[in-house]
Symmetry: C2
Subunit: 346 residues, 2 copies
DNA sequence: CTGAAAGCGCTTACAG
DNA sequence: CTGAAAGCGCTTACAG
């Protein structure tokens, strides 16, 4: 109703200058004397002038918005608190900078491609966040072709023209395995995420390397899609077989929580008869029983750093990679010495 | 790189008409002969012309985008799968309609106000979704003053100029209580959400009404902020007191899952010694142990309906309220006859 | 049914 | 240091 009535022309007239000058003053460009500038700004303030984003967009070809497209089905998305937290981090940066976040949630990888094309066709955003990196990620050449600036969460394997904001998840997994080994576990299994995803296979590699380092036999690994349902199924398979593992390292917390459910159902006591560790330290983790020993990720921090980097890239044309502090193991109650060890110790 | 090279002027020249005519053809406006229209459209297709959203925005004063601002701290947001699912539903409508979703996540109610003002000052969106309705919700007068179209999730108490898309959660709570009463429970407690929120107090009212209807004494109710942490605390209070309830009706699943953890920790077996019911049917619910008896919400459906309604409102200036099917009780394993009943039956 | 022009509200060379 | 003009790419009365 009341908004957008006053334009740059009103300010110019009232200040007795040209529209161009007002624009220069607004954008801190050289070529306007300090006195004139402050007079213009004062008038703008008096009039309550808010420069029209639409008009600026049209002439500067910028959108003043960043994009995030996430390709997941709604259920999996719902049990994964990564995105809400990541987005909260992103927003904490954007809101102060006058930027908006346009979010696109799509059900499949094909839809994801379309979504990026749509975003640039409509000039909706000035850059995007690339999450859930995959092997030979096809989105990197796509975005390159589209000329859309991006920042990747984690460093892609191949060459990438985009800055990467990373948080090393290897130490966390390694710590988990070491911790379990020190407790006396020898049959440790891993319920892994999708190996198509970089963080899925990287966690798996870290798991196997840590096992080797601990001088333990290669443990069983079951690949999943990171979903609660898959975590549940995999746990059941593991626990109902001969020589079931005494400890399971999960690639994320939702699967670990599902695993806890399966153990309860089978009458296997955690941590007495089965130790488990998670990854993410989601809110639920400290409230399940026993509370989950897990690796703390910091998605809010990640979101902040990614937003800052992307904005720098867009504004200056370049940005450095940033490495965030590695995720670390948080010891709670879901892991303990295996039953036979305790028995012999008693 | 390649995008946005061809403009309406190119199409007009190639088709041998004026820019105005191209615009008319594009927008299905009367005043252009069928032959001319199809010729223009053909040329546009040949040239791969994509009308510039920015230019359209400037002249039509529309943004072709919808807004959602959610005011929650990141942790609570993370354990609540409502928004991801709701957003997925919204997107499924928007993507086909060439609309985008701009999402704003803010930590407080004050920031929320600012966010709405910013959204309209920058003309970012043509309308917004109003979720988490509160008593005497101050956002309704705010949006009215700002002249920003909106759709409310649920019907506000007072007068509202906006269409409401609702899903009745009363029957689900009532069914929960009735079910528990029929199992033989007489001391049923409620761990409620925030009474400042409409759905928090409505579920509480439904709980008390159902108790009365069942001829049961008024149960204990503890108010929370819907968070996992609060659900955990409230459960502990309830279970460690004299005459602890034999059944607890939770206002949402995350709190119920936290309650399950507390019960385990206290050595209280569910459902043998304690029955619990949740609300939402989040993904986790069927994978905890015992699987949660809960009320199924349908946030994806809600998102779709809300998006459709909001778009109708924006395009036509009016939209009908819509009532979605009520949420219903889903019986799983977390509720059973209370111990003493079973004892006497044995 | 069609064209030429003005306008949306900024920014940006280009002159002075 | 400052002004006047053209341009961003559409839409929309207004004439014909």
């Amino acid at each position: 109703m009341k908004a957008q009535k006053v334009t740059i022309a009103d300010v110019a007239k009232r200040a007795g200058v040209s529209k161009g000058l007002v624009s220069f003053a607004l954008n801190d460009r050289p070529g306007v004397s300090p006195e004139t500038r402050s007079r213009i700004l004062a008038v703008a303030g008096d009039l309550g002038w808010r420069p029209s984003l639409r008009a600026r967009s049209l002439s500067t070809r910028r959108s003043f918005a960043l994009g995030l497209v996430v390709a997941r089905n709604p259920e999996v998305l719902g049990s994964d608190p990564f995105f809400p937290s990541f987005i909260a981090g992103v927003e904490s940066i954007l809101s102060d900078r006058g930027q908006a976040l346009v979010l696109s949630v799509v059900p499949s990888a094909e839809a994801e491609f379309l979504s990026y094309r749509q975003l640039v066709a409509d000039c909706r955003v000035d850059g995007v966040f690339l999450t859930d990196l995959r092997h030979d990620d096809p989105r990197i050449p796509l975005l390159t072709e589209l000329g859309l600036p991006a920042v990747t969460l984690g460093r892609p394997e191949g060459p990438s023209p985009f800055p990467a904001v990373s948080i090393d998840d290897t130490p966390g997994i390694a710590e988990s395995v070491t911790y379990l080994a020190q407790l006396g576990h020898r049959r440790i299994a891993h319920i892994a995420g999708s190996s198509a995803m970089l963080h899925g296979s990287r966690r798996r590699d870290a798991f196997e390397a840590a096992l080797r380092r601990a001088g333990l036999p290669l443990g069983q690994t079951i690949e999943t899609d990171f979903s609660v349902a898959a975590g549940s199924d995999a746990t059941r398979r593991l626990l109902t077989q001969e020589d079931a593992p005494t400890a399971i390292v999960y690639a994320n917390d939702p699967m670990a929580i599902a695993g806890l459910g399966v153990a309860h159902e089978l009458g296997i006591r955690v941590p007495d008869e089965l130790s488990i560790t998670g990854f993410d330290d989601i809110d639920f983790s400290r409230y399940v029983y026993p509370p989950l020993t897990t690796v703390s990720a910091t998605p809010v921090v990640w979101g902040r750093a990614a937003a800052t980097t992307l904005l720098t890239l867009i504004e200056t044309g370049a940005a450095e990679d940033v490495d965030l502090p590695a995720a670390r193991l948080i010891i709670r109650g879901s892991a303990a010495a295996p039953a036979h060890t305790r028995k012999s110790a008693t």
